[in-house]
Symmetry: C2
Subunit: 450 residues, 2 copies
């Protein structure tokens, strides 16, 4: 049964009040699937299903829910039920949950926690959004360097159930400083009388608490590790980040770039959950800037009205020329922005990249101009001088747009801002003005001579 | 020392011919770092460093290299050196390598392999690009259901070194059918006299060999697993996919969407390695289509030349209006395309999403139109009827562009194609014509009455 079928089946069981079968069926489901199914259920149904789950499963389902699902569920729970769940969540899931909840609820929950835990929660809540600290967890296995392999394995067996991963264990000294790591694989295949210090790897790749989560994701992609330790300025081990959380980060960061490249201020929440007002708020600022900028483009047309009056046909080609400039500029800026994001292109590559884009612009521009020339002469039967001006403009436009599309993102990155700002709409607006100046400039220069 | 400093330092050692220190230093480096450093070295230097690495490290470095690096290195190696490396690579890395090499080399390498392996390599090389089969590996731990935990652990200890992961072990019957899985964590914390069958989980999430790699990635993100088993049509276990390969897939798939949304035909190879000709080839097709389409837009202007002759000022606002239409259309289509890709938006959400975009369009459009009206009246001192036509056009444009930006990607996905095709440039071109018809339509309707 796939997820949609299962959803319909469960709903039928609810409607027919067959709660025994319902309980049996939901208890067999995978936690991620169940969380997904519950998204389609209303508050009353969700609570009904949630209450009949075995405890362990209910915790797992809860941590797989979206924060808006959690919010709704929590609103209809008793305080006792909520506390029981909070207590059992992995530490990082608990922090994620608290970050999304209203302040009054957070205060109550933190108030109920033991003193030491309260301090830790407060500390974690203070890590800036998108920092390594904000996505790390404290449930890791810590070994001391002088343990034997046998002792280490026994220790893992003892505490393993409550740790987020036991596959990479971290070795720290009594001052909490990170000394190295050892994988469970290494422990399992090593002689049990060896000392942890002798088999651990000291060359640890780590993150610092305030590192950006994007840097952390890059390290995971590069090194392929299961988990990364996070240390503070004194190199004390504060927590670890596991690969599953990083997969979410990779998606989130790509989504942020997609949005920014479409001139939308990024937001973390889901499209489906957001109100039209909030979504509009993220779109209006750039649109306003771009709209005002586009009036400059209008100003350029205005300035050349004298040419238009003489050659009215020139206006017909304005959309084609500005669109082609925008399209080619978008292409090259997208290539460069994405290349910078994945590390394929580095800042040092600036001149080779710009040079390459100019060459591409020449190839692409000549091709487009050629096709366009044939169309103008044979299909549109435009006068030769006009066809000549338009064709020349297309070549120059494409080369210039490619150049700007490569140059602007790199420069913006060099200045320390997000290169994704210099994409599609912004590039189009910048290129538009330049392209029209070239178009009318060439027209003014050439058309009055024939 | 960071990577750039290390690169300079190693280069200095090469230049001063201090090969002993060089060997010592490179042997201490992390394989991923070393592969990255070697990218900046020329063929001769790369081979020099590569030859002085301890064997294990050299294999790891090789598998971290880009395929163009591998190609160059292989070209300067002896056959014997190459064979030694190929033999030691993990199976999936070996397949990845062979896929990129010239046919003559592949034939020679396969010819040298033992009969059974040759069959397997040929089978793997035949899985379609981007399929689950093409990214899986055969180095997994397989247990039989009747083993004791103790026996299983001993077995893992014995074969563990040569497996890509030992943290998830797969249980199969004698017909190779997948029965379930058990994590090393479960094995380590379980009583050693229990039977694998009793502790394994039977509810396995799996992929089939021909599944698209994007589906596989979605499963990893959803379930957070370390590895996923891949089965054939008869549910026989063929291989596994590990999380580290999936991280690359997530990046690749996002890159593909970025490129397609900028009207570039996606390609797998790196920007830096590609020739300008090849890059141009991926950009020209859509540009041509868009350029030809833009001539329809020109045709519309042409049709309304009689209005322009009467009210020349109208041409000044064409860029602002078409740009705003393109920008808002890009915003809404980007939100929808990305939402569909991450699963935030589902096909069933079509009507709510379109309705939401219309509401957003109303909010955004009114805001932009209001600002624009003020600017026209007070700054540009445009005649009131003109300001009125432009303002009305902006509102209608934004609502319509949002509607198209939401509608088109969803429809394209419903038809089974990639919704990313309906992004930026394509939406802009479609919206342009509509917007101009509205603009001149409203102008013709209103301006001659005042």
């Amino acid at each position: 049964m796939n997820i949609e079928e299962m959803e319909k089946y469960l709903r039928k069981l609810i409607d027919s009040k067959d709660l025994l079968t319902l309980q049996e069926e939901v208890s067999k489901l995978n936690e991620a699937d169940l969380a997904e199914i519950l998204e389609e259920f209303d508050d009353r149904e969700t609570l009904l299903v949630f209450r009949m789950l075995p405890k362990d499963l209910s915790i797992d389902v809860f941590s797989h829910m979206t924060s808006s699902q959690q919010k709704k569920l929590v609103a209809s729970m008793t305080d006792k039920e909520l506390d029981a769940i909070i207590k059992e969540l992995y530490f990082d899931d608990r922090i994620d949950f608290l970050e999304e909840m209203p302040a009054s609820l957070v205060t109550r929950i933190i108030g109920n926690a033991p003193a030491e835990e309260r301090k830790l929660i407060n500390q974690f809540l203070q890590y800036p959004e998108y920092s390594a600290g904000s996505i790390m967890t404290i449930e890791y296995v810590a070994l001391s360097p002088d343990m034997t392999v046998k002792k280490a394995l026994e220790y893992i067996k003892e505490v393993g159930m409550s740790k987020e991963t036991i596959y990479t264990c971290y070795v720290k000294d009594k001052y909490q400083k990170l000394l190295g790591f050892v994988s469970l694989r290494e422990l399992v295949i090593s002689d049990e009388n060896l000392i942890v210090e002798d088999i651990m790897l000291e060359d640890v790749v780590f993150a610092e608490t305030l590192d950006d989560q994007e840097e952390v994701a890059d390290k995971f992609v590069k090194y392929g590790y299961l988990a990364l330790p996070v240390v503070d300025k004194e190199h004390r081990l504060c927590g670890i980040i596991t690969f599953d959380d990083v997969m979410d980060v990779i998606e989130e960061e790509a989504t942020e770039d997609f949005h920014r490249m479409a001139a939308i201020e990024p937001s973390v929440s889901s499209y489906i959950d957001e109100s039209p007002w909030n979504l509009a708020k993220h779109r209006i600022p750039w649109l306003l800037i771009l709209m005002i900028s586009a009036t400059f483009t209008g100003g350029i047309i205005n300035k050349y009205n004298w040419i238009i009056t003489d050659f009215l046909i020139l206006t017909n080609f304005i959309p084609m020329i500005t669109d082609t400039g925008g399209n080619t500029g978008s292409q090259s800026s997208t290539m460069v922005i994405r290349g910078l994001a994945t590390g394929d292109i580095e800042l040092d590559d600036m001149f080779p990249v710009i040079f390459k884009e100019v060459k591409i612009g020449f190839i692409v521009g000549s091709t487009l101009a050629f096709v366009n020339f044939l169309r103008l002469i044979f299909l549109a039967q435009a006068p030769l001088p006009i066809a000549f001006v338009v064709t020349l403009t297309v070549i120059v436009t494409v080369i210039l747009s490619n150049l700007m599309g490569a140059f602007l993102p790199i420069i913006v990155k060099k200045l320390g801002a997000d290169p994704a700002l210099m994409a599609g709409s912004v590039i189009t607006t910048i290129v538009d003005s330049l392209v029209l100046i070239i178009y009318f400039g060439l027209a003014g220069l050439l058309l009055y001579r024939f």
